[in-house]
Point group: none
Chain length 187, copies 4
């Protein structure tokens, strides 16, 4: 991977944010350049195509996810880690109600494509989350940790989508509380 110059870094962050807010299709290179305060013509020295910029946005989300899980792993109890994850989601309820889950909405958008392989890229980020959750469930000694992870992450994607579609952050709060209860109930 190329050295992450300040400008490149700025472009990635801008891409992540703008694409989350506007969607990949409606986002123009100029939008991202403006948000990153980089001249349009210069963008292409860091990212050869628009798809690379979208991939960068995805990588940025991936990095955020890694940061989050690393922070959560400082908690000794896997159950607490999972509950911390849910609390983080609920903490971002306003953003979710406005623009949905950054990775989920992007994945949904990219999965409509036939070419470019970006769809698989989005799947990978989601898989990272799934695997991390699975690992926690496994450490708790629970059966079918992969199925539990699927249920947890699926619930997150579902509640984000509903909160977004209905423009109601309360949905995040409500379903978040239910998930916390569910996590506590697992033995």
């Amino acid at each position: 991977m190329r050295a992450a110059s300040a400008k490149r870094q700025r472009l990635m962050a801008a891409a992540a944010q703008v694409v989350h807010q506007q969607g990949a299709e409606r986002t123009t290179i100029a939008d991202i350049a403006r948000a990153a305060d980089v001249p349009v013509g210069n963008v292409y020295y860091y990212f050869k195509t628009k798809d690379e910029l979208v991939a960068a946005a995805l990588a940025e989300h991936s990095r955020h996810l890694r940061d989050l899980t690393e922070r959560l792993e400082r908690l000794p109890d896997p159950r607490e880690r999972l509950k911390g994850l849910v609390e983080t989601w609920v903490g971002q309820r306003d953003l979710a109600a406005r623009y949905g889950c950054p990775t989920g909405t992007l994945a949904a958008e990219l999965d409509k494509r036939d070419e470019g392989g970006l769809d698989a890229e989005a799947g990978k980020v989601i898989r990272l989350l799934l695997e991390w959750a699975e690992q926690q469930f496994r450490e708790l000694g629970l059966p079918e940790p992969d199925g539990l992870a699927l249920t947890l992450v699926g619930a997150y994607q579902g509640m984000s989508l509903l909160a977004n579609a209905l423009r109601d952050p309360q949905i995040m709060t409500r379903e978040g509380a239910r998930l916390i209860g569910w996590l506590d109930s697992l033995v």
Copy 2:
């Protein structure tokens, strides 16, 4: 609402299908016209703007939903109706794994827009489903039927998104089975 001529009907069906597969943004009027076997210029006789066509696609999904719930309502037991709903979802697992839930992905895409009011339109269709589910839970005499509906529909959206992102229809099967079990466990 306008009388649905055969051609108009064909355009609506084509719009629903093509938009589901390609997304609203990547779908061109020409794509829909081709799928409906209608000359491009003629499309505008039935729908004045592209947005109207997207709204028509949404209406088509809404109609499908109504057809489905009407069919399910022939079942005497609300619990069976809900289980039938889940089975329908699982039955469409291949489509969901390829393109996601038609309404959910469209809602996610439209919610990125600032103008046009189509985002609210998508929310309405999802709300229809929520309300129908809520009604079934209510008839079962369960507490907080609205919360249960949220959980059910959220699970559907989540599993569709995961199945789509991971290109794995088995996710629909697996989570579907879990939902059936959950429905059976509710007292």
Copy 3:
């Protein structure tokens, strides 16, 4: 000329009005059809092309002009006729301030065209007015009646254009008064 059925008559009147208000280029066949309350597809039984409709608008203005001059000719004194003409112009000051002289603005628009011969058609209507005015000046025994007609009609076109461009009907009143004074001063 074809027999003027009621519908054809309505289309001519509508064409004259709508073209005056919107200009020939911005006026669609549908606009005229709507104003005349005639189905779009039916228009072509009366006018084979849009140009024919514009020509019809011109003919309508020509007819209005003939009506006006015939009315004025009931006055015994040619000078009074000419003053009556000016008074008529001033009486239409609000329309002129909003849309200009129907014939003048149409002539200006059509004169930009290379083909179709409609430009010459517009010139003919203006020439009718010029010739009528010239005849009055001649009857007054004034020298160079054609030059006087040119001055009078030119003043009318100029004041209409200025009133229109500055959206000020007062210009019509002011210049009209001046023209009356001028007519009175001619010996």
Copy 4:
């Protein structure tokens, strides 16, 4: 106002000329691009919409007018300035007979519009001419200089329109001579 690059300047000149000849409505962006020898897509780098190009054409005419009045102001006598103005008009008789007064015909066309505000813009250019003429009449110590300006400019617009409608440059010569005589007669 933006710095006028050579290409932008070329586009403005081309817009002024082509719009004068064809009218704003019949002029396509491609026409202007071709006349300026600029690729179509590139036009939008300088002018965001077609309306901006029309406004640029108007500004170009405004600039021409300013150049002319500045040149005329080198003459010591205001009356000579006004006569010089008329002579300039007569000098352009062939252009006027073919396409009318650039500003006047454009104003007439734009005044048919309801939106965009371009109509007011055209009015401003005409007002500039009126105000300059008024100033000259004022310096001559004549009463009602604004009325005199209206008469002069109105006569110009009228004779341009008639010359154009009748395709006869002689009208410019004839009416120009009359205006010269009129200017000389004012005391």
